[in-house]
């Protein structure tokens, strides 16, 4: 990549992903409204929300860790974003494979957990406790599916996995070539995105929105920005591993919206699991599926 196009990509990439995230968020609210026979807000409603939050005149915070944590939250997500390959921009992916990405995904959660801890509100602490338990729940099957894929292709680099899928055409897509792993990862992805039935960390009526309890103004605004970037990021991870990556932006957007529609349809139908039920669901249904898939891969090559 030439230096100029690299610099342009570095600046434009998060903005593009943010806009995609706004559209995905607005699409989700419109979709859920239509399912409930309502009209629903505008397609770019998350953008209005972020603008409103960032333009608050008075902001309150509980201490310096609270401030720094918000920076860690968004900074960590931006850091992870650069290592995920998208069509046309794969420069940084050579320096970090999927193991790096899955660990980098932990930095925003840790940052937010520390900031919420400083707010000294037990609703926030309970929310973080649930968020971390959910993390232990969904990461285990998700990592096992990745280990299976990496073991089969003998590489841990996401670029290699994308190339292998694109070279083999539709039948080499992860979801078709190793279906058990793909389905297990899909269930884990629902947990990663905090969509129902795994939405327990927010639980507005029970713990006053959990981690967001004492966040307002620009703090909540940055949390929203982070969420709007994290949703396309995590969907892209799944697309790169199991849906064949994307060779053009049109194909990428189509895959994003189809996958997102599938996930939010499940979101509309379910209520919210309790945290230990959610973790048990992940470990009793998604994890055995992934384990069976991995054993299948081992028997094929052993």
């Amino acid at each position: 990549m030439s230096t100029l196009s690299l610099v342009v990509w570095i600046i434009a990439y998060p903005i593009i992903i943010f806009c995609i995230g706004v559209l995905l968020g607005g699409y989700e609210r419109k979709f859920s409204a239509r399912v409930e026979r309502r009209i629903g807000p505008s397609w770019i409603q998350p953008f209005y929300d972020v603008i409103k939050l960032m333009s608050k005149k008075t902001n309150v915070s509980h201490g310096y860790m609270h401030d720094v944590a918000i920076l860690m939250l968004l900074g960590g997500t931006l850091l992870t974003l650069y290592f995920v390959p998208v069509p046309g921009f794969t420069y940084f992916s050579q320096f970090g494979d999927f193991l790096v990405i899955s660990y980098l995904l932990l930095i925003p959660s840790l940052g937010m957990a520390l900031g919420v801890g400083e707010t000294a509100n037990p609703n926030g602490s309970i929310g973080i406790s649930r968020a971390l338990q959910m993390l232990a729940g969904y990461e285990v099957p998700f990592i096992l599916t990745f280990i299976g894929v990496a073991m089969k292709e003998q590489t841990t680099s996401m670029l290699d996995i994308i190339h292998i899928q694109q070279a083999g055409g539709f039948w080499a897509w992860g979801l078709i070539a190793h279906p058990l792993l793909g389905v297990a990862a899909l269930i884990a992805l629902q947990g990663m995105l905090n969509e129902k039935p795994f939405e327990v960390i927010v639980a507005p009526h029970e713990i006053a929105t959990g981690p967001m309890t004492e966040m307002g103004g620009k703090y909540l605004g940055i949390m929203f920005i982070q969420h709007l970037i994290a949703v396309p990021l995590e969907l892209t991870l799944y697309i790169n591993l199991f849906l064949g990556g994307a060779s053009s932006w049109l194909e990428y957007l189509v895959k994003l919206f189809v996958l997102w529609t599938a996930l939010i349809s499940v979101n509309m139908v379910f209520g919210r699991f309790r945290v230990d039920s959610a973790v048990k669901f992940m470990w009793k249904i998604s994890l055995p599926l992934a384990a069976l898939g991995v054993i299948g891969i081992m028997l094929n090559i052993a």
């Binding site: 309502r38 807000p41 409603q45 209005y48 333009s55 005149k57 309150v60 967001m212």
Partner: protein, 195 residues
């Protein structure tokens, strides 16, 4: 950097046009008027199409809905909640009880006129107002925010002595947790900045 930007009229107009589409209300249901909110939020009248969503904590909300009669005991908590909210914030008096006491006009324990104690942006008359009236009121409020005219929240900083005097007369002394409003006005530059 932020201060100069917000003092430019064009930037503020642009922001106001964007902000008006996303007002969040605090689910603080003080009296019987709150029963009209669920129908307004759900599918038949769908308040969400205006961008108005219920939010849980004062830190996250813009609109404080005082739904119905407000007893003196509750007013103390409402002031606590109001001061925890972040500017710009809009108090909406919902129902006739906030305007003139309504059905409880001769009660010893309710307040008769909300704007003695908090700066009110909008009143919705009715006992209680139906969802159509609520939507009409909120669209009026959204228009006002869009034009940049919804500035009653500044009144609390500018005329703090008036509000404080009325509150202390009613309660018989200061409540447990007052914020330092004049210091906040100083720190955030609210009295000097333009809208």
């Amino acid at each position: 950097m932020a201060k100069e930007l917000t003092q430019k009229a064009a930037w503020d107009r642009v922001l106001a046009k964007l902000k008006k589409n996303s007002l969040w209300m605090l689910h603080y249901c003080t009296g019987c008027g709150a029963i009209e909110l669920p129908p307004t939020m759900t599918a038949r009248y769908d308040m969400e199409r205006f961008g108005i969503m219920p939010m849980v904590t004062p830190r996250q909300a813009d609109i404080l809905l005082i739904t119905g009669y407000l007893s003196v005991k509750t007013l103390k908590r409402v002031i606590l909640v109001y001061e925890q909210m972040q500017a710009p914030k809009y108090v909406v008096g919902f129902g006739s009880c906030t305007i003139n006491g309504g059905m409880y006009w001769d009660s010893y324990s309710t307040i008769k006129s909300l704007d003695q104690y908090l700066p009110v942006e909008m009143y919705l008359a009715g006992c209680m107002p139906r969802p159509e009236a609520i939507i009409k009121g909120f669209t009026w409020l959204i228009d006002r925010v869009g034009k940049g005219e919804a500035n009653s929240w500044r009144d609390y900083y500018e005329n703090y002595e008036f509000y404080r005097k009325n509150q202390e007369e009613l309660f018989g002394g200061p409540i447990q947790s007052y914020q330092d409003i004049p210091a906040d006005a100083q720190k955030f530059g609210i009295l000097e900045a333009r809208q």
